[in-house]
Amino acid sequence: MAEIKDFQCTYDNSAGISGEVTKGLGLTFPDAYLHHETIAALSKALKEHDKAAFCELPFCHTVEAEAMGGIINYGNELAGPRAKEYICTAPEELLDLPGIDFSKGRIHEVLLACKALREEGEHVVMQVSGPFTILNVLIDAKHVFKGMRKKPELMKEVFWKLGDEILRFMEEAKQYGADLISYADSSGGLNILGPKMAEQVVEDFTYEFLKKAEALADDKTMILLCPKTTFALLGTGRARFRDMMLSGAMAYGEACIEMTGKAKLAGQMCIKNVGYQLENAVFKEVVLE
């Protein structure tokens, strides 16, 4: 079997939220993170500032966890929403958390912002978090790692509980018009888990999960993978790349838009790397084995 390689996050092409981006929008923080009108305005301002081909939503990785009961510090214009304190102290407690109600709260506002941006003709990348990222808000990571070693069956159950919620979020995002649904779980990357545990996660969860996520791709929707996930799949022999020719050299984001409807899964680059150019006009579809 091939070895799992790591992908180094850089994402230094996107400026992130800053005074420069928000100037003139009349936004107040953290209020701007809470309402669909301001979420949409902020997303569009970021797109224009970064000269990206798409709008990104949301701006943090806490909406799913918050919708399951997580406690969030909404932050300010400099630092966005993040976890405040953990609500669970044992993995067993995670199984008792409520399912996500997509009709209320910040997650609903994010979906409404998506719909509004699509109606304005924008392409929208809905950034969906994987289980490790969601767990980071809910419980100290050491309980997760210990659980994986001592109680792997229980943790598999936890991953799938979260996985089912993530799939529901993806379905909702699709219904609200998101054309690009991005899946990332960098908190569960190779550099943190190590090769053995990273492989265990692919076998127990990621591969089967992505089989289900892939089924959501259609002529209007593509699923994007964080390259850390792509490499974990390639390294465990659970996926391969298939080269597809683009109409010409273009930015990765533009390529994803062009290939929507033709490819189901993308994952050769980080979507946050907005300036990354596919000079050779080759798009690499991720094909699950």
Binding site: A79, A83, F145, K146, S187, N191, L193, G194, M197
Partner: protein
């Protein structure tokens, strides 16, 4: 009954093998047999943690492994530490550590703290998402020799430079070394903001601290 050497080995092996309950049991047996708590900590628990660091450096162990080893070490420490003779902590060098405001990723920070504690430093852990002024206040209150700042996010990196400025404004910059680390951090960034050092991982952080403090 087991000999002292056998119990020390059980403590050390238990840490390396991440067996929290075994370590706690061995620590209790060790105390019941009347052996010195100090030796149990240094030659048992710390020895095990040092072996875990070597495995980490050799890329046989990974972050998750070392965190679990440290849990086993702390389980033993909880039992042995109350039996140490009363000594002042004056001889230990104190460091303040935390993840800068705006960021909650603390796995790397926890690992650095564990390694520095194992190497004999007295570490004051401010946790994650720490208001920048708290680093300075704590360094002052605790008479710290160094401050370790961590972040995984590009959006919060700037906080590190602010801490350095605040240390300067508080008039203690020349007494406190500043070490930085985390995903997007580099030596170049450390040079740019005037930090005393950057380390790429937890093992390097210990070497850096010792070098900066001439230990």
């Amino acid at each position: 009954m087991s000999s002292k050497e056998e119990l020390l080995k059980r403590l050390s092996d238990g840490v390396v093998e991440m067996e929290e309950d075994d370590v706690a049991e061995a620590a209790q047996e060790y105390l019941d047999a009347g052996y010195l708590a100090f030796d149990g900590i240094m030659e048992g628990l710390v020895d095990g943690m040092n072996r875990a660091s070597e495995l980490y450096e050799a890329e046989e162990y990974f972050v998750t492994d070392v965190l679990l080893c440290s849990d086993a070490m702390y389980a033993g420490l909880d039992i042995l530490r109350p039996h140490l003779p009363e000594v002042s902590g004056d001889d230990k060098v104190t460091g303040v550590i935390g993840v800068v405001e705006g960021d909650t990723h603390d796995i790397g920070k926890n690992l650095v703290k564990i390694m520095l504690e194992t190497a004999g430093f007295n570490m004051i852990d401010l946790g994650r998402d720490v208001p920048l002024a708290r680093f300075v206040e704590t360094a002052k209150e605790e008479n710290a020799a160094f401050v370790c700042l961590s972040t995984l996010m590009t959006t919060t990196m700037g906080g590190m430079e602010t801490v350095i400025r605040l240390l300067d404004e508080a008039g203690i910059r020349d007494k406190v070394k500043v070490m930085i680390g985390g995903g997007p951090i580099s030596q170049k960034y450390a040079d740019k903001i005037g930090a005393d050092g950057y380390s790429q991982n937890a093992v390097e952080a210990v070497k850096l601290a010792k070098r900066l403090l001439n230990i």
